[in-house]
Amino acid sequence: MKSDGKASYVQVKVVSDRPERFLNMCRHRQIGFWNINRTEEGFNACITRQDFLLIKDICYKTGTKVRITKKVGVPFLLFKYRKHYSFLVGILLSCAILYLCGLFVWNISFTGNSKYTNSMLLKFLRSMNVYSGMQISKIDCDNIESSIRNEYPDITWVSAEISGTRLIVHIKENDVAMVTGNSEDNPRDIVAAENGIVHSIITRKGTPMVKVGDTVEKGQILVSGVVKILNDAGEHVGNIYTEADADIIVSAQYEYYDKLNVQHESKIYTGSTKTKKIFGFVDRDIELNFSFGTFENYDVITKYEPCMLTESFYLPFYFGSRVYYEYNEVVENYTEDEAKAELSKHFNYYIEDLVENKVQIIEYNVKMYTDSDSFVMSGSVDVLTPVIEYRPVTDIEIKVNEENKNG
């Protein structure tokens, strides 16, 4: 037998002339000792509380004396402090506090969001009266899901769940806005998001208004949500209003312009830092090191460590640290190489951003030149960009089509 996993056990001193006989009899009755150390009088060992109660008979038969030297475990502790009522009150109070804590939400977390930050979503939930510290029973997960979907059309899937004292909102975002509901109730056109030339068009629903090679202007209807119904004679007899759906790629040219002043302020970090411990409750925190002053110019990095009993049982308070990094503001001038590197970096970010938005870069032509007090990078970027802008079919369109039908 091993002590691993034993809730409570006793260390005993066994005095016997024949300890082997005592051990064999114990083994025969499936009573186990562990950590047995031989002594001159017998041995010292550990035994569980339950087994200890069974060895009385064996002790009598073998003439062995057993004396407890140490008691280990919670049951012994409870027995020892049974008269300390404050101890009992403390345990009951702790249980009550834990129970009360378990009735509220102390942590709201989001998964799967990239376009919408946590703070944006938290702010939205706050406007719905869902916040850290509210009662779990008052949280309506279905309402949260539908409200987020209605508020953010490009969030295509939301699932809110309560896990312990956490509200976890799982989100799936989509680049293309998903329109729900009956297509006839929400007829829409696809319109050009910018000026360009139609590179390709594949229409699934609606009436295409342009063909490959056409020049389009921003706001121009590319695929109409109005589908004309013609009879066998080719006469206009009616209209169907639908959600236009098509894959359209437009070839466009973006103008690029970026300016960098020669003179600029930069931060020179002095290397001095100050760390302050913080203690927070719900969404308010206080700094614990009052004696520290602060720097004149500084950056702050704050780290929070929420207190939790389990992964899903968060408590309403948290600890953390706030590190202040001192810096001096210095006015410097860019050299030409520095400016070139900085402007190139900005341009690369711009290109990466376009690629992330599924824009295909065909060609770019940018140049850097020096103005009186600045460096400028300008030029143009030829791209193939998908059109993802929708507009509801206007009343005017409906009226015109109805007149055409009647006329």
């Binding site: 037998m1 091993k2 300890p19 082997e20 051990l23 064999n24 083994r27 499936q30 186990g32 000792f33 562990w34 950590n35 047995i36 150390n37 031989r38 041995f43």
Partner: protein, 85 residues
């Protein structure tokens, strides 16, 4: 070799199960596990004698202590010098 041993050898049966032979596992010279033992015959700091179906197994050494024991196994720790059958 006894008749029983010959019989077990002929049938290729596991000897520990058929003959009740002790299985002795030694870790370096500081830990020893003995399975299939019948009883503890002698226990001192410098020697432990175990009765097995095949006779006496004597373990000698220094500061020997029984880490744990149960129906099937006994674990002994200490500085082991010799194991004798």
């Amino acid at each position: 070799m006894t008749g029983k041993e010959k019989f077990v050898n002929g049938l290729s049966i596991a000897k520990d199960a058929a003959l009740g032979a002790p299985i002795v596992t030694v870790l370096g010279n500081y830990e020893i596990y003995v399975e299939n033992f019948k009883s503890i015959v002698f226990y001192e700091c410098d020697a432990i004698k175990l009765l097995t179906k095949q006779g006496m197994l004597t373990i000698t050494g220094n500061m020997l202590e029984i880490q744990h024991y149960d129906d099937e196994e006994i674990a002994i720790k200490g500085r082991i010098c010799s194991i004798e059958y």
